[in-house]
């Protein structure tokens, strides 16, 4: 796969998703790839990050020697707080998440269905899963964006007509960012908005297990 040069890197996917984080938003980032987004937020936008372990206004990793053992992200990384942030306890943090105060959650996914069903907490063959805050955040955020590789390691489609994986939340995903494309999830089905440079819409459709509307397809700008 490494010689496949038309796939976006993880940084490029994060950079593309960052372009859609709007000024004034409060955003929760799932563990893994979504945590790369803050570095790519356009400088003129004020986007605040919520970390469900009780941090509103999460900042970048600490400079050398400035780490505080009591200040971490939900991904267990040492972080900082930006100006104008605040600490809350877990119950208030999840009141924020479930209560519709998150403008957006960007979460990794194993599978996303045409109807917006999100599957990201447990693989079908796992006897045990780590749910963490995934279900609360997915059920409560105003928008849920999925960020993932377009296909599984074995080549299987991850964007599907109907989910086969254990459900995290029903009908919540509205946008999908992958290493091949940006796709909107709408009541009328999936719309292919953009493809990675060098890829065609048909190539994306070929590895997507649900029909894509391809009426107006642009190219992902990777210059950022």
């Amino acid at each position: 796969m490494s010689e496949q040069t038309n796939l976006l890197t993880r940084q490029q996917i994060a950079a593309r998703a960052a372009q859609d984080m709007e000024d004034g938003w409060l955003v929760n980032l799932g563990i893994g790839m979504p945590t790369m987004i803050p570095a790519f937020i356009p400088k003129d936008r004020d986007v605040m990050f919520h970390s469900e372990n009780g941090l509103i206004g999460m900042g970048p990793p600490p400079a050398e020697g400035e780490a505080d053992q009591d200040l971490i992200s939900a991904g267990k990384e040492l972080v900082t707080m930006i100006s104008g942030g605040s600490y809350v306890h877990h119950t208030d943090s999840f009141a924020i998440a479930r209560g519709g105060r998150l403008d957006c959650a960007v979460l990794g996914a194993f599978q996303v269905a045409v109807n917006g069903d999100l599957c990201n907490w447990r693989l079908p063959n796992q006897t045990s899963g780590s749910v963490g805050g995934a279900m609360d955040i997915a059920a409560g955020s105003k928008r849920v964006f999925a960020m993932m590789s377009h296909t599984a390691r074995d080549g299987a489609a991850k964007i599907v007509a109907e989910r086969t994986y254990p459900l995290t939340a029903m009908q919540v995903v509205t946008k999908i960012y992958t290493d091949m494309a940006v796709i909107s999830v709408t009541p009328d089905g999936l719309i292919l908005n953009e493809v990675a440079p060098g890829l065609t819409a048909d190539e994306v459709q070929a590895v997507t297990d649900a029909p894509l509307n391809m009426d107006d397809v642009g190219t992902i700008n990777v210059a950022a």
């Binding site: 004020d46 104008g84 600490y87 809350v88 119950t91 999840f94 924020i96 105060r101 059920a139």
Partner: protein
Amino acid sequence: MKNKKSATLEQAVGRIQDGATLLVGGFGQPGVPEILIDGVCDLRRRDLTIVTNNAGTGHSGIARLIEEGCVSRLICSFPWAKESFVFKELYDAGKIELEIVPQGTLAERMRTAGAGLGGFLTPTGVGTDLADGKKTMTVDGKDYVLEKPLRGDFALIKAYQTDPRGNLIYRKTARNFNPIMAMASDFTIVEVQEDVPIDALDPEIIVTPGVFVDTYYVTGWYEIGKERNA
């Protein structure tokens, strides 16, 4: 960063329309956003539903709103205080509807709305008039009333200090319902005694994160419970 400050009182409350539901902070007089309430009076809105703990004192604040005919429905825990004579008069004349909610249930119903929950089971009110018509459930042998969320189109609250992001701290028992009302509305308007620069408030002591605040109006200190509508 967008500053949430409203330069004028009218700017702070101007988007409130006829028929809106307002959560209004305060317990007794501390924590009542008196200036914001005056601002709503001046707008001459009609048919408002007011959710607040008390039914107003004297002729000012909530009492003024009621007296000027802005309120068609009041949801509160303690309507029959001696100082709430304005409310009593209009209630007796059939000009205003009343829903009495136990005080803790009132707070919890708003918190439930703010926390994105669909309801809760409380032992409060079981077997009383105030549970009439409500669903009851037995959990582990104990009876509970199912109470539903209570949400406002607007919250009008009072805080002590804010920073530009709307992070709030309160003062003594003027805290009361204000933090929970901030959580439970679509648009939260704060009157604050003082606004301070970013970083002036220790993030450990913030009671209401700015996430819950849409705009604030700075009033300075004033003596509470005085009539200002002369």
